[in-house]
């Protein structure tokens, strides 16, 4: 990809943030926004299929779902929820600073986002490793001794790992994206300093990741007694 970027940069008449296929920065920014929203719609459908499977299974086994969810630690995840909300706030402030061309502000706020990312992944690691120790990872080593039907409990944990895992991958991608963004700001790359749109798009993505968690948290950790 580096080679593509290099080739691309060569074809530019100028090295500003404007790409050759656009007339002006406004058109470019609008196109980016449309593209980003189309991507997010795609993401919603991507998670949507999993939410549908979740709904169907919880509807079929409400009691087992309740019993199985007792194995999860709502407090740890609650900390993570707060942590993600905070990071979304940081991201929003970062975008604002980018619009104001306040480089120091951007670097500070984005560092906050990166920190929250790491905290989230750290807590997720603790949660996953506890499940691993308790043999609650579906597969041959799965062993569950609770009130729920073991088969259904395995389905519950299967979906738990599939959905939070997919979300976790999105957080990890966020970490990379924000890391690169931070470095670009740090090295004063005109592509970000002269145009706030790349920062805003990263922010949009981050809000989406946050929003998915806002749904995942109650669906897995806060199930009321049916």
């Amino acid at each position: 990809m580096a080679a593509i970027a290099a080739e691309h940069a060569h074809s530019h008449d100028h090295h500003g943030p404007l790409h050759h296929q656009f007339e002006d920065l406004e058109q470019q920014n609008e196109a980016y926004l449309v593209g980003m929203w189309a991507f997010l719609v795609q993401e919603v459908m991507f998670f949507g299929a999993l939410f549908l499977a979740y709904t169907l299974m919880r509807w079929q086994h409400p009691m087992d779902w309740y019993f199985a969810h007792n194995e999860l630690d709502w407090k740890l995840a609650g900390v993570n929820t707060f942590n993600l909300l905070l990071s979304s706030f940081f991201a929003a402030m970062g975008v604002r600073s980018a619009q104001l061309k306040d480089r120091k502000g951007v670097l500070l706020w984005l560092a906050g986002v990166l920190f929250c990312c790491l905290v989230f992944l750290g807590i997720k690691y603790v949660e996953y490793s506890l499940k691993w120790e308790h043999h609650l990872v579906p597969g041959p080593s799965f062993f569950y001794q609770g009130e729920a039907n073991p088969g259904v409990a395995q389905m519950f944990f299967g979906l738990y790992f599939a959905m939070t895992g997919l979300h976790g991958i999105h957080v990890a991608v966020g970490l990379i994206v924000f890391g690169i963004l931070w470095l670009m700001w740090f090295f004063r790359k005109p592509i970000v300093t002269e145009d706030y749109m790349p920062t805003e798009m990263c922010g949009l993505y981050w809000h989406f990741v946050d929003l998915v968690w806002i749904f995942l948290y109650p669906l897995f950790y806060l199930i009321p007694h049916p």
Binding site: Q60, H61, M63, D64, N149, P226
Partner: protein
């Protein structure tokens, strides 16, 4: 060299109704294909470059014309939809007096069992003129039970019962296929449906089918044996006790669950009670019953096969408060075993 065949045999009441609809749709299809096709060819040739024809006053759009050719096909389509849905709904409502036959699909054979216990593989003997209801389940992957001469097909799914019904009309031998791709020998999974005169069918049944020489146990008898072997009667006696409810006379009754929902005790319900007893717990009981779901299809290990479950259901059906009418062969009290059941 060959005698070309253009239509499959017509051997059920549904097949006759079906073919009317089929050929009506075909007439419509041919009509539209020819009319539009000819128009396209005619216009393309008539208005060819170099032809001196009137090209003036050509419209680019015409609302009334658009509406006409949207609404007329819509009405025709809705007509076919109504007709087809009417027929379809009928195929989903078996009459009460239908003859029950049970079918199990597995890679790569069909296994059928008649109510008196006669079993057959890749063959299905049926009486003509009688409505027949098949209750079907698969032991492994999805199959589909298809008899072209009856114009009838239903997927056979693991984990749940599906049903189909039809009334054969013409004695004869007809193709039986599996139409849902099910693995290596999918194209060899099939056989024949043999429709016989009712009297002939009774004789065939009484003789235990063509293949089984010994007089077989009825399904109810087999179910009762399983009931005894698995000691189901310890919890499900002729009275409701603390360990479990009585199963006498519960078939097709409404049952109140722990969460106050009401469920009909039908075949599906009973099967679930055996395979997944925790799914729904009867009001007043705890989840103390073990699941009788086998670990795998090859290794029953304390579980019940799909066939066993069917037999037990048939047995539970036969448990009435008065001595069962359909199966006088059963002496529920003579053996000292109270009429019992396996519901949770």
């Amino acid at each position: 060299m060959w005698r070309l065949k253009f239509a499959p045999d017509q051997a059920s009441t549904f097949a006759e109704q079906y073919d009317w609809l089929f050929w009506a749709t075909t007439a419509l299809t041919i009509f539209f294909t020819i009319v539009v096709g000819l128009l396209v060819i005619f216009f393309a040739l008539r208005f060819r470059e170099g032809k001196k024809v009137d090209r003036s006053n050509a419209h680019d759009h015409h609302l009334m014309l658009e509406l006409t050719w949207s609404i007329i096909p819509l009405i025709m389509g809705l007509g076919i939809f109504g007709w087809a849905s009417y027929l379809f709904v009928e195929t989903r409502q078996p009459p009460k007096n239908a003859l029950d036959i049970y079918v199990i699909g597995k890679q790569w054979m069909w296994h059928a069992q008649h109510s008196n216990g006669v079993r057959e593989n890749n063959m299905l003997h049926l009486p003509s003129g009688t409505p027949v209801r098949l209750t079907m389940i698969s032991q492994d992957v999805i199959h589909s039970f298809y008899i072209p001469a009856f114009r009838m097909k239903q997927d056979v799914i693991p984990g749940r019962y599906t049903q189909m019904w039809f009334t054969p009309t013409k004695p004869g031998v007809y193709n039986l296929f599996c139409t849902e791709y099910c693995g290596t020998q999918h194209s060899e999974m099939g056989g024949y449906v043999v429709v016989m005169e009712p009297a002939e069918y009774q004789e065939w049944l009484a003789n235990g089918g063509d293949t089984v020489p010994v007089k077989p146990m009825t399904m109810v008898q087999k179910g009762e044996k399983i009931f005894k072997d698995k000691a189901c009667f310890k919890c499900h006696g002729d009275q409701d006790i603390h360990e479990g409810p009585s199963l006498v006379g519960i078939y097709n009754q409404r049952r109140v669950m722990k969460d106050n929902s009401v469920r009909l005790a039908d075949d599906e319900y009973l099967r679930q009670a055996m395979y997944d007893p925790y799914a729904h717990i009867l009001k007043g009981y705890e989840n103390t019953m073990p699941s009788y779901k086998p670990k795998s299809t090859d290794d029953l290990e304390g579980g019940l096969s799909e066939e066993d479950v069917l037999n037990v259901i048939e047995y539970i059906k036969s448990l009435r408060t008065s001595p069962p009418m359909t199966t006088p062969a059963i002496p529920p009290l003579a053996t000292g075993v109270p009429p019992t059941g396996v519901e949770n």
